[in-house]
Amino acid sequence: MTLTLSTQDQDMLRGGSGPATKMAMSIVARMAQVSGARELLDISGAHIDSTVYIGEAGLEFAERLAGMGAKVSVPTSLNVSGLDEHHWQEWAVPSDWARQAYRQMVAYQSMGTVPTWTCAPYQTGMRPSFGQQIAWGESNAIVFANSVLGARTERYPDLFDICCAITGRAPAIGLHLTENRAGQLLFRLIDIPKSLHESDDFYPVLGNLIGTATLDKIPVIDGMLVQPDEDQLKAFGAGTASSGGVAMFHMVGITPEAPTLAEAFHGNAPLQTIDITMDMLRESRRELTHTDSDQLHMVVLGSPHFSLAEFKRLAPMLLGKQKHPDVKFLVTSSRAMTQLAQKAGFVDPLFAFGAQITVDTCILTSPMLPLEIQNLMTNSAKFAYYAPGLLAKQIVFGSLEDCVRSAVAGRIMRDESRWLG
């Protein structure tokens, strides 16, 4: 298959739009070739995951582009960065690390992007619409945009998202194209009690299970007994994109490209049908916990970033309570959501409880946790998946209620009743 570039693409490649666009187009075109694209297509939005500071090479890449005067050509939101720009000093972030991470923030901000600094850009004003062609990085954002919103992005990595944003072009491959958006594997929920469908912690557990079983295919979930809310779908998607490489799922009767089972599969037969039982769910829930200890140093919520609705749900659960003095209680969110929550009165109860809020970043992308914090509790499958490897911390998964109860008690407490069923 050969790649045909438009006249405008070729002009960018020759440097007609400046050296930064030339480098970006060179990368887009080479990757289009590698991935077998016949052409590039126009995008009208981008989300940049490259903002996450990893080390010198990523910073050199950002500063090379910025130094050549790179500007994005489509509305572009920014993912989490390496630090909470205004509050990093309250944590264990080393100052030279902070300087580097900050340089990376400045570089990406200089390109005309919107400094949303969030891994949940779909819960900001930069939410793409149904059918919109976009180039998004950040695995949880990709799966949400494709599945829940019906926008179209391939599973793009760091460093590529920004090249698409600068050129306004992306390879015409994968999930950009209708024919590649059909479901492939069928997961049927069998005899799972409705009370579990109604529980928040069902979604990350189900996501972890389906991600593990699906890997890079498109799963279709049939048999939902309730209409999950947006934050439940967010938690589910983030789980599938951590334990697997899922970039899109269909939930029959719930997500926009799956009004019926047949439509989810574009009329094809599933490659495989897997019935999900309570035993499988229990096993998936066990997998998300990495220690038998009931010791607790910190509760961490907000992966992906806490939404306004989640602040609203959490606030009344904390009223009249105090966290245990030996336990930290952290919520990570975006600046925008935190300010809205503040205005709505959902933040004061958090502070009264003894909670802290971190914005712009998260525990996985900022070296913010002091050494003495070893045992974490979370309601996020994504945190539970990555924390042991990235942070070398022990983690226990629980529901939001479990997390609050444990923070008050100062040790891990989990309500097992809904999982016995």
């Binding site: 480098m23 080390g55 090479a57 950040e138 391939e154 990595p157 760091d158 998202d161 490489g245 990555y386």
Partner: protein, 140 residues
């Protein structure tokens, strides 16, 4: 010593030689690869604890985080990357790290895709040589 020659598809051209580190399980480099040491750190992965630096790493494809590319790019710059990576198909995340390493440092990482049945013949500790035209020579 036995020899085996497999023909792969060149994703990013290059020559490499090293001992193989093989898993049928996909891997995320973010949270899965320590670019300061080259250790596989995904504690749920079968290669957890293995050092992939200078090895011929064979994993079918990447899973999870979009930050995998950035981590591999750091490893290439720091000299802690595998000598080459073998997958079962084009892996966009690995390929991009290699293309960007070429743009920034002119040090692309060789990437080869093998058909699944050929990939299945690779074993950890095989001595593997990769040539410019995608041939994978194995001695064990």
């Amino acid at each position: 010593m036995a020899g085996l020659t497999l023909q792969g598809r060149v994703i990013i051209q290059g020559e490499a030689r090293g001992s193989a580190l093989v898993s049928g399980e996909p891997l995320s480099f973010w949270g899965g690869y320590d670019w300061k040491t080259g250790e596989i750190i995904d504690r749920r992965h079968m290669l957890s604890g293995a050092i992939a630096k200078d090895k011929i790493l064979a994993v079918p494809f990447t899973r999870g985080s979009s930050t995998t590319t950035a981590v591999l790019l750091e490893a290439i710059r720091a000299g802690t990357a595998p000598a080459a990576i073998i997958t079962t198909d084009v892996d966009f995340f690995f390929a991009l790290a290699s293309v960007v390493a070429d743009e920034l440092y002119t040090t692309p990482l060789p990437l080869i895709a093998l058909a699944e049945q050929d990939f299945a013949q690779l074993k950890t500790d095989d001595e593997v040589q990769i040539t410019n035209n995608g041939t994978v020579l194995i001695t064990r």
